[in-house]
Amino acid sequence: MPDNLENGLFVFVLATFVGFEVIRRVSPLLHTPLMSLTNAISAISIVGAMVLAGSNRGPLATVLGTVAVASAMANVLGGFVITDRMLKMFKPRTSLAETRKP
């Protein structure tokens, strides 16, 4: 088994376990923001897309790379912005009472 493959599999398995442990603890209250946040994080594929779009490897790579950068970027920005928009709305009772006082 080549080294980088072995490393990759180790990283994948460990990261999956970390993911399970961390995400299991997320309150059901926040499952929608959780999904939009992980969605934004999965747009990390922008990293591969940028290399493709910017390394002058020929027209096919550039075109596909640019489209991929655009759709990943839409995901990154959109995902983070809407997650924050949602989380801003979650308020406990105490702070709400304060803000409602005339």
């Binding site: 493959l5 490393n7 990759g8 990283v11 994948f12 990261a15 999956t16 993911g19 961390v22 995400i23 309150s27 059901p28 209250l29 926040l30 499952h31 929608t32 959780l34 999904m35 939009s36 992980t38 969605n39 934004a40 999965s42 747009a43 990390i44 594929s45 922008i46 990293v47 591969g48 897309a49 940028m50 290399v51 779009a53 910017g54 390394s55 490897r57 790579a61 596909l64 489209v67 655009a70 759709s71 990943a72 970027m73 839409a74 995901n75 990154v76 920005l77 959109g78 983070f80 912005v81 809407i82 924050d84 949602m86 989380l87 709305m89 979650f90 308020k91 406990p92 009772r93 709400l96």
Partner: protein, 458 residues
Amino acid sequence: MISLGYLAASTLFILALKWLSHPTTARRGVKAGELGMLIAIVATLAKAEIINYQWIAVGFVVGAVIGLPLAILMPMTAVPQRTALSHAMGALAAALVGTAEFYENGTHLSAFSMTALTFEVLLGFLTVTGSLMAFGKLQDLLPGRPIIFRGQNLVNGALFAAAAGTAVYLVVQPGATALFPVLIGLSLLFGVLLIIPIGGGDMPTVISLLNSYAGLSAAAMGFVLNNKLLIIAGALDGSSGFILSVIMCKAMNRSFTNVLFGGFGQVKMASSGEIEERSVRRASPEEAAAILEMARSVVIVPGYGMAVAQAQHRVRDLYDGLMRRGVDVKFAIHPVAGRMPGHMNVLLAEADIPYDRLVEMDDINPEFPQVDVVLVVGANDVTNPAARTDPSSPIYGMPILDVDKAATVMVIKRGMAPGFAGVENELYFMDKTTMLFGDAKAFVGDLVKELSGIAAVA
């Protein structure tokens, strides 16, 4: 140096998810995620391979133009649609990178990298069309009910086998470039056929599953490009989507296979052909308001119907009115209420209802016997006691909200049509149940008006 940046980004992503576990730290989590993404992008720009920034800039701008309005202008009721759409875009990015990688380096890739690449492309393109179908159903562009034809599972199985077979052949014979478009075509088609037989009420599971696929596709890309950041972020996303879909399946007492291939939620009109006229008790807004006003504790059960009627702000007014009168009001949230995990919580939070009033199923169920009045707004199957008592019911065994144990139940509903599962709800025919027929938004508005009327008299 670039690796260090990627390491920092990976750490920040894990912290982001960790902080998201509680509402008080959740926004810090988003900040951590943003910072991680920024570091990852800047570190990538510093890579020696990147010599031309022009097209990257174009991609950034186009992406911002598409993504930002979607995020800023989208109403909260449309969050499931937006999520489906952005799953499609994320998966498209991964699939296109895989495609380009194949045509550029296909013949130099090791068998293992090639396997990862076919995974990336298969999962990527399948998620693109699958998410678009889910989007279509959520946006009502496609019929929400399952689209079913004879031999569907056979066709799907054959299609998947063909796609997998093509993928294996490409791993063995990377030179067979002519087969690559076949793989793309089969994946796209499979994505469509996989989602169309799934009904609207199963969307929480489907959307979680597509979330997982998009993540796994990104992780596969990490294997192809030998990039650990991609592997980590993809694995986090993959496990998150997987956990959510398992939670959703459990909340419906159904298996993955049943959700994906069961064609659940077909309108079972054939079996309930002879609808017997059963009488229900009904009440006007005035009577209902009087009952609510007399109660000491009220539990509101919101469902997808509340989202459709956009009634969440009226519900908040009702909550305010009752709380001001000293009535204890809580909300009971079933895990699969709505069209994506946590959908109801977001809507109620949008309407400024404090999150400590939103109670999960397992915590509220023991309280129902002490509750005076339950008000069901646009929920149906999740309140059906047949799930506990009738082994012949299709929803038997599904965990439900035990609203029938409360002293009085009131149900706001347009008519007597069955819910998503196509079964009659026994709850409606109980002696303690009163049906309030009408549009959820209008009816709750009337309730609020009646309540303030009572205040004027008193």
